[in-house]
C-alpha cells in the first residue's frame, strides 16, 4: 500500500473543504456577534489543520494514529462544550465524531468511547430545552451510529481477510506487533517440545541518539535498522516492530551466550553502517533466555526490562536479564 489510511483521509478534497468552511464559519459567526461559536469553530479548524500538517509529516501509521486520537478527543470536547453552552447549532458537529473515533481507534475501545460519548451527549441534551430538535437528533444519531458500526464491521472483515496475506510492515520489513504474541507462543511451545533454547532480544536506539534526531530522521533510522536486521539475521529468526521504535527479535535454537554474541555483532554493525545527521547511531540490546515455565508475555517483558536496565547504565551496551538485576555481561563501549 503506497500510503497509509490517515494520509488518504487528510489528502481528500472534502477534508480540505471542511477546513476552509470552518474558517468561513469562524468569520461569519464573528460578524454575527457570537464570540463563542467563533472561538469554537476556530478551534475546530485549527485541530483539523493540525491533523493535516502533522499527518503529512508522520510516516508511521502508529504515531500518526496517536496524534489523531488526541485531535479526535479535542474535537469531541469542543463540540460537546459548544452544545453545553447553548450553541445548539453545534449539535450537527457531533455526527463527525463516531466516524473519527472508529477511524483512529481499534474496534473495542472505539465502541466504549462512543458509548460514553453518547451518554454524555444525552445528558447534555437533557439540559437543553428544544424537544423538537432533540427527537430528530436522537433518532438520526442512533441510526447514524448503527450505520457507522456496519461500516466498521465491513472494514474488520476485510482486515481479517487480508491479515494473513500482509504480515510485515512496509517500511522496516518487520513483522507487525499483532503477530508477535502468536508467533512467540508457538516458538515457546516448540522449544519446550524439542528441548531447544530460545532467546528474545529487545533492541532500541540509545536515548542520546534519539535526543539528537528529529522524528523523521528517527523513522528513517528505524527503516535502516530494519533492513540491516533483514540482511543479518538468520532466516528462521524473526523480528517485530514493538512500541514504534523498539525492535523485538526472536532467536530460536539460541542460548544466552550465543545471543549475546549475535547482539554484539549487530551493535557493531549498526554503529558502523547506519548514520543519521552525519553521526553514527548506537543501539542497546536487552536479552532474555527462555526458562522452564515461561510464557511468551513474560519473555517479552523480561527482554524489555533488560533493555531498560542497560539503557539506565549507559549507551551502546548489551545486557542479559538476571533476576537480581546485577548481571551484565559484555557491557561497555564496543
Amino acid at each position: 500500500m503506497p500510503q497509509s489510511d490517515h494520509q488518504l483521509l487528510i489528502q481528500s478534497k472534502p477534508y480540505f473543504y471542511s477546513i476552509v468552511l470552518s474558517g468561513g464559519l469562524c468569520l461569519a459567526s464573528l460578524f454575527a456577534g457570537s464570540i463563542l461559536l467563533a472561538l469554537l469553530s476556530f478551534i475546530l479548524g485549527l485541530l483539523l489543520m493540525l491533523g493535516k500538517l502533522k499527518g503529512a509529516e508522520l510516516q508511521e501509521p502508529e504515531k500518526a494514529r496517536t496524534q489523531f486520537r488526541w485531535i479526535t478527543l479535542g474535537l469531541a470536547a469542543t463540540s460537546l462544550l459548544g452544545v453545553y453552552f447553548g450553541e445548539s447549532t453545534m449539535k450537527v458537529w457531533l455526527y463527525a465524531l463516531p466516524l473519527l473515533i472508529f477511524f483512529f481507534y481499534e474496534f473495542k475501545p472505539a465502541f466504549s468511547i462512543i458509548a460514553l460519548l453518547s451518554l454524555v451527549t444525552i445528558v447534555v441534551l437533557n439540559g437543553l430545552n428544544s424537544p423538537f430538535e432533540n427527537i430528530q437528533f436522537i433518532g438520526s444519531y442512533i441510526l447514524y451510529i448503527g450505520i457507522s458500526c456496519s461500516l466498521v464491521y465491513l472494514r474488520e472483515i476485510r482486515r481479517k481477510q487480508l491479515k494473513p496475506l500482509r504480515r510485515t510492515d512496509n517500511l522496516t520489513k518487520a513483522a507487525t506487533q499483532e503477530h508477535l504474541d502468536e508467533d512467540l507462543a508457538k516458538e515457546v511451545q516448540r522449544s519446550e517440545r524439542e528441548g531447544s533454547d530460545l532467546a528474545v532480544m529487545a533492541m532500541a536506539l540509545d536515548p542520546s541518539c534519539i535526543s539528537k534526531l528529529s522524528q523523521k530522521q528517527q523513522a528513517e533510522v528505524n527503516i535502516d535498522i530494519g533492513k540491516l536486521l533483514h540482511n543479518n539475521l538468520r532466516v528462521f529468526d524473526s523480528y517485530y516492530l514493538w512500541d514504534q521504535d523498539e525492535f523485538l527479535i526472536v532467536l530460536p535454537h539460541t542460548n544466552s551466550a550465543q545471543s549475546i554474541k549475535i547482539a554484539n555483532e549487530l551493535r557493531i554493525k549498526v554503529r558502523k553502517e547506519i548514520s543519521a545527521a552525519e553521526e553514527s547511531v548506537t543501539i542497546s540490546v536487552g536479552i532474555a533466555g527462555l526458562n522452564v515455565g515461561d510464557d511468551s508475555k513474560a519473555l517479552v517483558k523480561r527482554a524489555a526490562d533488560a533493555l531498560a536496565q542497560t539503557v539506565a547504565k549507559g549507551s551502546n551496551r548489551t545486557q542479559l536479564y538476571r533476576e537480581d538485576k546485577a548481571g551484565d555481561k559484555n557491557g561497555g563501549e564496543a
Binding site: Y15, S29, M90, L99, P131, S140, L143, I147
Partner: protein
C-alpha cells in the same frame, strides 16, 4: 466473490430496514409532538426505505439494487431539502444518516455525487431558512462527514481490489491461476453458445522443462518461467488471457477465434519462442495443443474442454515436441 457480494447486500438490506424502522419511529414521535408535516415526510422516507429493504431481499442482481438505492436515497435527500425550508432545525439532522448510508449502499462515485449535491443544496436552503452562520456550521460538519465516509469507502474498495488480485493471480508468473481459468471458461462457453462464435483454448508447455529444472536448478527454471510468461503475455491480443496452472502448463484462452485462427497463432508462438534467445538455457522450444469449441457440438463442459486441449498437447509431445496439434 459471490459470498462477499452476498454479505455486502445483506448488510445493505439490513441497514435499509434499520433506517426505515427508525424513520418510522421518528414519524410516530413527530406525530406525538404535533409536527405533522414532518410526519408525512418521515413516514414517506420510512416506507421507501422499508420497500427498498424488501426489494434487496429478493433482488438477485447487485447492480439493480444499486440503481434502486440511488433513486430512493436521492428521493429521500430531495424530500429532506424540501422540508428544510420550513423546519430547518429539525430536518437537517436526517441528512446525516442518509448521507452515510449512501456511502455503504452505493458505488463510491454515486455516493460522492449524491452527498455533495445534497450538501450544496441543503446549505443553500439553510442559508435561506436559518441564516449564514447555522448553514455554514451544517456545511462544515457535513463535508467532514463526507471526507470520513468517502475515505472509509475508498479503503474498503482498495482492500477488496487487493483481495481479488491476490485471489485470481498465480504468484510466480503473475498470469491468472487455474481456478480463474475454470471460472472464465464457464462464462466464455456460455457466451459462445449465445453468440454462436467459436472459442479456442491453447495449452502449452516448455519442452523438457523437468530436465531444465534438474540441470539448472529451480531458481533458473523459475526465472525462465517468468520470462516465458512475459513473452506470452506480450504476444496475445487484447481480449485474450493467459493462465498458469502452477505445475508447468500455460493456457491461453482466445475468444472469437475459430480453429484455423488458433493454429496460426499457435504456430506463431512456437516460432517466436524457438527463435528468441533465453537467459542461461539459451534456446527452448514449446509444444502446443489447441482445441476449439464450435457451437454445433453441444456437449462441451469446462473440464472436457480443458481436457481436449491437454490431449492435443500430449499428442504434440508424443509426435516429437516443438509442434502444434489440434484436437476436436
Amino acid at each position: 466473490m459471490k459470498t462477499d457480494d452476498q454479505l455486502h447486500s445483506r448488510v445493505v438490506a439490513t441497514l435499509y430496514l434499520l433506517s426505515g424502522v427508525l424513520m418510522l419511529l421518528l414519524s410516530i414521535q413527530n406525530y406525538r409532538y404535533g409536527l405533522y408535516p414532518l410526519v408525512y415526510s418521515a413516514s414517506l422516507i420510512a416506507c421507501m426505505l422499508i420497500g427498498l429493504a424488501a426489494y434487496a431481499r429478493f433482488a438477485t442482481n447487485p447492480a439493480q439494487l444499486n440503481r434502486a438505492g440511488v433513486w430512493v436515497l436521492s428521493l429521500c435527500l430531495v424530500l429532506i431539502t424540501k422540508d428544510s425550508f420550513d423546519y430547518p432545525i429539525e430536518v437537517k439532522h436526517w441528512a446525516f444518516p442518509i448521507g452515510l448510508l449512501s456511502f455503504i449502499a452505493l458505488k463510491h462515485r454515486a455516493a460522492m455525487i449524491l452527498t455533495s449535491v445534497a450538501a450544496a443544496t441543503l446549505t443553500l436552503a439553510l442559508i435561506d431558512a436559518e441564516g449564514l452562520v447555522r448553514a455554514l456550521s451544517f456545511a462544515t460538519s457535513y463535508t467532514l462527514l463526507i471526507a470520513l465516509a468517502s475515505t472509509f469507502a475508498q479503503l474498503h474498495q482498495q482492500r477488496s481490489r487487493t483481495l481479488v488480485e491476490l485471489a485470481i493471480h498465480e504468484p510466480m508468473t503473475r498470469a491468472y491461476n487455474y481456478r480463474y481459468l475454470e471460472e472464465t471458461l464457464e462464462k466464455e462457453i456460455c457466451r459462445a453458445d449465445r453468440t454462436g462464435k467459436s472459442l479456442s483454448l491453447l495449452a502449452l508447455e516448455i519442452d523438457y522443462f523437468p530436465q531444465v529444472q534438474d540441470v539448472h536448478g529451480t531458481l533458473v527454471a523459475n526465472d525462465l518461467l517468468n520470462q516465458f510468461s512475459e513473452t506470452l503475455h506480450s504476444m496475445i491480443r487484447a481480449g485474450d488471457s493467459e493462465y498458469y496452472d502452477s505445475s508447468r502448463t500455460f493456457y491461453l484462452l482466445l475468444p472469437c477465434t475459430p480453429s484455423e485462427g488458433v493454429v496460426v497463432i499457435a504456430e506463431r508462438i512456437r516460432r517466436t519462442i524457438e527463435e528468441s534467445s533465453w537467459p542461461v538455457v539459451d534456446a527452448i522450444t514449446v509444444s502446443l495443443g489447441c482445441t476449439s469449441y464450435l457451437t454445433e457440438a453441444r456437449d462441451c463442459t469446462v473440464n472436457s474442454f480443458i481436457n481436449d486441449a491437454n490431449v492435443a498437447l500430449i499428442e504434440a509431445q508424443k509426435n516429437g515436441h516443438n509442434r502444434v496439434c489440434h484436437h476436436g
